[in-house]
Symmetry: C2
Subunit: 355 residues, 2 copies
DNA sequence: GAATGTGACGTAACCGGTTACGCAGCGCTG
DNA sequence: CAGCGCTGCGTAACCGGTTACGTCACATTC
């Protein structure tokens, strides 16, 4: 049974340990960090003193004097997005393996908050930063640039900001693949439930869609392009539902729908079922991001799957690379991680998908 | 266009600002922290110097001398659980509002990792700790107890550890409500897809189930109690599926199934459909935790919903209360947050649920 | 045996803040 | 006008580590 002691005997410092072991602080520091040779006997005494006193080095003090904290900051617009937890986990795992602590900030899509979070990270002297940008630009990143500290952007880049690595998701090709697949399934009129074009990701998805349509020698019908609510608004599903209802009452309704996020896909699904449309024979449906439950829908949903885990790991690795190799003066690198098209029953008119 | 400067002119310190403004460091510190009176004119000069130099106080240095970092640690067994992101978000939001930074650690259910994470938080001098325990006990929390730093446990307590506040989830009553509801719907043989009894939560859920059955004057049929895989194993859904298949081939199969996590509920759903069972008329089904997509299943799933967001907020508030009121010597408090039973079509034989 | 080298460790400055204490100048009182 | 208190601010110690530099004892060399 453990009870609160009110900190009777204060936390031991390195000086206390030095006294205990009858050596100097330099020696204690040396045995802890293996930073210079210490005789076996002395080392033994020091280690014993450490054990006895329960001494634990203060990371603040260490960080202050070494100017590195072994801490990196992760800034995300919202942890409630379906892919955010995996992104956070995969990055955090890699960082943990390499001995880094994680300062986390969930900025709830607020631009000022996002800037504040980055300032907070800077003030906390993090060694580097992992950011999933929500705003179009982030002036505060200049703090890191000036300090020569590495920043890696995840999922998409940021206009007006160079000097950061970017691990992008292949949204352009993802959308393109989706369109081509639908065309391959015989779709004649493909509608899209798009997202407001705030970040590079949404623009890329839209560009991919356009390119796919035009490359097939078709024209873009404005009626078939519907802009919904962002995933984080909570209205996304409702929008998908409403827009789908409208789409299906057009004079020439679509025979395929590409939803650029999962919530809108669900909304569309509800609407189509309610209208008695058969999926995929009347209307084929494809969504974005492969979540656990997409294959449990009726019918299982085809999706464009981002390799979220890989992106998280790569971002963390890149950051650690910059830190450890000190190659922070290189030109920044940009990587694009491909998406995968996962075909399930919702878009598979041949009925060959394995689900 | 921003480029890396390699930190040419070093980050300004408080001393540099003091020189700039022609005052002492004490005065600069005073105007920043409003800690003593400074004449308007002097304050103006200081603020100008701060602005000009782009000075930002170093949180490490501040933390070192004040012994508080305005940082709190959050330790979770896995951010990939369906309720973890909301728990993290709600706690982090409250902390952010009160000016705290968040050190985050995802321990992947590993006991040693969990202890390490807590040590890391301690070494980082966090002011307090928010923990969702995975292990049965956590010796490392003694570090915080000895230092007089508050710790709040989330979702469930920890055996052998007193001195921490606990914000519990009302799992006992949650299960009890579920059972009573199923009985009220006329269920005669209620099966349970249970979880390994590792933490208090699972034990409470199981106890609630037992109590409900016995209170109705029935007996517990061991055949109807199936222990599945933990949510985090990734096999949970598969287990739910398999165990449901087995359940339905019993001589006396159940007419209701209570799944103690959402994944098993989905597995059960798949199995029941595959067997051509009608839900809820042949078999009623109820799950745990109200996720976004539970109502998009066929049929929409009844669930026991934990008030995850409330638990997160309360935990953070409690921690901040301890910190700000300095009432850390109180006896620890334990709160239990009720669950809500959400009845949807999967268990509603009267067909009155609103979905 | 003096000079030089080397192995093992100690001293004290430093990182960048906060703050206890001190001090000068002024107005006021008796 | 000596003495007192108050106002506004500076000096330097301190938080707990790291590390450049110094020192001492002993071995080696010629």
């Amino acid at each position: 049974m453990m009870t609160i002691m009110n900190g009777k005997n204060p936390v031991p410092t390195i000086r206390a340990v030095a006294v205990e072991a009858g050596v100097s602080v330099a020696t204690v520091s040396a045995v802890i960090n293996q930073t210079r040779f210490v005789s076996a006997e002395t080392a033994r005494r020091v280690n014993e003193a450490i054990k006895r006193s329960g001494y634990r080095p203060n990371r603040l003090a260490r960080g202050l004097s070494t100017r590195q904290t072994k801490t990196i900051g992760i800034v995300m617009p919202t942890i409630l997005s379906p892919i955010a937890p995996l992104l956070l986990k995969s990055a955090a795992d890699v960082l943990h393996e390499h001995g880094f602590a994680v300062l986390f900030s969930n900025t709830e899509m607020q631009a000022t908050w996002e800037e504040q979070a980055i300032e907070l990270m800077f003030d906390s002297q993090v060694d580097g930063l992992l950011v999933v940008p929500a705003s179009e630009t982030l002036d505060t990143l200049k703090l890191f640039a000036d300090a020569g500290k590495p920043v890696v952007l995840l999922l998409h880049g940021l206009s007006g900001v160079s000097g950061c690595d970017v691990i992008r998701s292949g949204n352009f090709k993802g959308s393109l693949d989706a369109v081509n697949h639908l065309i391959g399934q015989g779709a004649q009129r493909i509608a899209v439930l798009a997202l407001p074009l705030v970040s590079e990701s949404e623009k890329d998805r839209m560009d991919g869609f356009r390119t796919g349509i035009l490359a097939a020698g078709r024209t873009l019908d404005p009626e078939l392009i519907r802009v919904g609510a962002p995933s984080e608004s909570g209205d996304s599903e409702q929008h998908g539902y409403q827009e789908t209802l409208k789409l299906m009452t057009l004079q020439h309704p679509p025979d395929a729908i590409f939803a650029m996020n999962q919530y809108m896909a669900i909304g569309a699904l509800s609407a189509l079922k309610e209208l008695g449309q058969r999926i995929p024979s009347d209307v084929a449906l494809i969504g974005y991001d492969d979540l656990i439950w997409t294959r449990n829908l009726e019918p299982p949903l085809s999706v464009v799957a981002q390799q979220v885990e890989l992106i998280g790991r790569m971002g963390a690795m890149r950051l650690i690379g910059r830190l450890e190799n000190n190659d922070r003066y290189d030109t920044p690198e940009s990587v694009t991680v491909d998406t995968h098209l996962i075909v399930r029953a919702s878009s598979d008119r041949a009925g060959t998908a394995t689900g």
